[in-house]
């Protein structure tokens, strides 16, 4: 993707409870050793994007710590590379909500960069989109904006409140709004769009000046008659990580080898910050079935249908089922953990039994220790 800037900006974290107490959605640990943002960054880098800007939102710390100077993604460059934009507080923009003000406050970055197009991705949507094809479509149709979508079948209304777009027969976009689950199939916006930088900056300036939109997606619709806006359909598997349950399911889907292979290998290597953990040790007492296990763990107990992150300890006699155990969490002797998400550094004490339901996992907070009563 020559001549294209990458922009990463997340969405609200209201639906994630304790999991997003101190981190934005795109920093959620995922797949045993990654954060959601790793997939977006790697996808961009693997498609040849050389300049990436990340808008961190308010909860900056975990993002700063994880991204550093961008080395794991080879974005530590003297020219271009990684730009991290924390929120612009304390200036005349402060009272304004939404991403328009964020983009406006970094106008200089856009104006000084040489790239003429912008690829915008929200890391909450996880899929191995072939960005080259989308970019080709964008360029060959001379579109001002190409919006990526998936035809989502949704008979049970599970995708309520997701972004919905309406298309004309020629693929141009006629309207966009919220899915209220009135149809069994709808065109779901998958958090990715490509836009000419000039159109992008014009829309932002116009919205700032007129004050008619706070969010880019509204601003695009307000100005839709001025631009050539078309669409690109993604037909593969996509995870729309919009609440705790969707996050849990997306992790569990990785136990499907086809989905895991697509996500981990099909669009090149997924890069993340290295933790220098040794290999995982399984002792004589371990019994592990259908699980994804990262390095640095010591597994002495039973693990089934679970995702085990780096540096986790599962002691003798413990039973882990249908659960996600994040980095450095620990389950002590004979404890039972079912349908649960254990956040980083959490501890389940010996003989404790905890369980969520299959429709809603139980969440153990970061650093929380649950001991036998």
């Amino acid at each position: 993707m020559e001549n294209c800037l990458g922009i990463i900006i997340g969405n609200g974290d209201k639906n994630f409870g304790a999991l997003c107490k101190n981190r934005p959605v795109f920093m959620l640990p995922f797949g045993g050793r990654y954060r959601l943002i790793d997939f977006t960054l790697s996808n961009m880098v693997n498609h040849g994007i050389k300049t990436v800007a990340v808008y961190t939102g308010d909860k900056v710390r975990s993002t700063m710590d994880h991204l550093g100077n961008g080395r794991p993604w080879d974005l530590n460059r003297r020219f271009n590379g990684l730009f991290i934009f924390p929120p612009a507080n304390g200036n005349e923009l402060a009272p304004r909500l939404g991403d328009i003000a964020e983009f406006y406050s970094t106008m200089q970055f856009f104006e000084e960069s040489r790239e003429e197009n912008v690829l915008l991705i929200n890391p909450s949507y996880l899929g191995t989109v072939n960005l080259d094809e989308a970019y080709k479509h964008f360029n060959s149709t001379d579109a001002d904006i190409t919006i990526l979508y998936k035809k989502q079948v949704d008979p049970w209304g599970e995708y309520i409140n997701c972004d919905k777009i309406y298309l004309n027969n020629d693929g141009s976009v006629s309207a966009a709004g919220l899915n209220l689950a009135t149809e069994k199939e709808f065109n779901m916006y998958i958090g990715m769009l490509i836009i000419k930088k000039k159109a992008f900056l014009d829309i932002i300036k116009s919205s700032m000046e007129k004050g008619d939109a706070n969010y880019l997606k509204h601003a695009i619709m307000i100005n839709k008659d001025k631009y050539n806006i078309n669409s690109f359909e993604f037909k593969g598997h996509i995870e729309n990580i919009r609440h705790t349950k969707a996050f849990y399911d997306a992790n569990m889907n990785l136990l499907n080898r086809k989905i895991a292979h697509e996500l981990f290998f099909d669009r090149g290597t997924v890069f993340t910050k290295s933790k220098d953990e040794p290999s995982t040790l399984y002792t004589d007492t371990s019994v592990v079935k259908n699980s994804l296990v990262a390095n640095g763990c010591i597994i002495e107990g039973n693990v089934e249908n679970s995702i085990i992150f780096r540096g986790v300890n599962v002691a003798k006699g413990a039973i882990i089922k249908n659960s996600i155990l994040m980095q450095k969490s620990e389950v002590k002797d004979n404890a039972i953990v079912v349908n649960t998400i254990m956040d980083k550094y959490s501890i389940i004490g010996a003989n404790v039994r905890i369980a969520g339901s299959s429709v809603m996992p139980y969440v153990v907070e970061k650093n929380q220790e649950i001991k036998e009563g």
């Binding site: 797949g31 220098d276 399984y282 296990v293």
Partner: protein, 378 residues
């Protein structure tokens, strides 16, 4: 300013011919070890963890993979603006080109590098050893004795003593005699090939040794005996942790298996003394519904559907359903097909064991080294 400046010189040019196919494509320091490491990672990580800023890596035998692995030293935090890591291969000059003829000659040839850094001390390390050592302790002992050179030594089994340089010391740990590979060792305190020199003294003796046409330019055979004969202050510093120089395929296999022993003293999980290595960025491994894994180390990117017992799987190894792996070391990218059985083996990188094939018997006492071209038995 940094006082007591130490420069480490890491000898990484050895062939390790007794490791047979394991060193077919790489130098001994680049041989894979312990699930995800290469042997040289231990010395490099020790240097990082000991706070060493400058390190020269002396390469010679088949250096490509070693150079790729080390790069500019990023994994060990040696990619510095000021100092850091230098790879020092043999080179040509107005006197013609020449290989490093011995351990001391390799240092002598890079005297310009050391002169430029002008350290107080030079630490000589080998990239062939598996151990964790805080070199600051060795330096401290060296300083306390006001020594010209201090050797790290450790007790080895008597029957192996004649493989090593054996030191005889007085009550103060001052070395009175140095026997390189003696036929009849007087004791079992062996030199580990880890020396710290005061740079001024070392420089003098390197120059002297290089002028001697008879010399093999080796530290153990020539330089240390010469210094001792001239009455230089040579001390021994005892190390009592895990240390292994894997010379043969069997000892390579054993050293890997040591990591599975619950009582092993080389704790690779110690977060206070991490062993660093170049990251391959692979996803977590997957254990399938039919997998059985007992007492084994498994690295990232593996896919296990069969049975793995007392074994070490490196990255991206695939064990198909019904396959069995016992007491074996399986290097990266190997595939064990359905129904195959592998016992007491070392598989080099990228070997595929065919469906139903069987290697070894449990408890047959042999070690099988398997390559894509065949196998050897030890």
């Amino acid at each position: 300013m940094i006082e007591n400046k130490v420069v480490a010189m890491l000898l990484a040019g050895g062939q390790g011919s007794r490791l047979k196919a394991l060193t077919r494509k790489v130098a001994k320091p680049a041989v894979s070890f312990g699930g995800k490491y290469r042997i040289i990672d231990f010395a490099l990580s020790n240097a990082t963890n000991s706070g060493i800023n400058d390190i020269g890596i002396l390469t010679q035998y088949k250096p490509y993979l070693l150079n790729t692995h080390i790069g500019i030293g990023t994994a060990w935090d040696f990619d510095r603006n000021n100092g850091g890591l230098r790879v020092l291969p043999p080179f040509t000059s107005e006197d013609g080109g020449r290989w490093y003829t011995g351990t001391a000659n390799a240092i002598f040839e890079n005297i310009d590098y050391l002169d430029e850094l002008n350290p107080n001390y030079v630490l000589i390390l080998s990239g062939d050893h598996i151990y964790k050592m805080d070199y600051r302790k060795l330096l401290k002992a060296h300083q306390e004795k006001g020594a010209d050179v201090t050797l790290a030594v450790m007790e080895v089994p008597w029957e192996e003593a004649s493989r090593f340089g054996i030191v005889n010391v007085d009550k103060d740990n001052k070395i009175v005699e140095f026997d390189e590979k003696p036929k009849k060792p007087k004791n079992n305190m062996a030199s580990m090939g880890i020396y710290i020199f005061s740079w001024k003294e070392l420089r003098k003796y390197l120059v002297m040794d290089n002028k001697n046409k008879e010399s093999e330019n080796d530290f153990g055979k020539n330089v240390l005996p010469l210094m001792l004969s001239e009455g230089k202050k040579m001390y021994a510093w005892s190390f009592d942790g895990y240390w292994k120089d894997v010379g043969t395929v069997r000892s390579y296999w054993e050293a890997n298996m040591d990591l599975l022993d619950p009582n092993n003293t080389l704790n690779i999980y110690d977060a206070g003394w991490r062993i660093f290595t170049r990251s391959k960025n692979l996803p977590p491994h997957y254990l399938g519904r039919s997998s059985v894994v007992k007492n084994s180390l498994i690295n990232e990117g593996c896919l296990v559907m069969g049975e793995v017992t007392n074994s070490i799987l490196f990255s991206e190894v695939e064990i198909e359903k019904g396959a069995k792996v016992n007491n074996s070391v399986i290097l990266s990218n190997c595939i064990i097909k359905a129904g195959a059985e592998v016992n007491n083996a070392v598989l080099v990188e990228g070997v595929t064991i065919k469906e139903g094939e069987k290697i070894g018997e449990q408890g047959d006492g042999n070690i099988y080294l398997i390559t894509d071209k065949g196998f050897t038995v030890e």
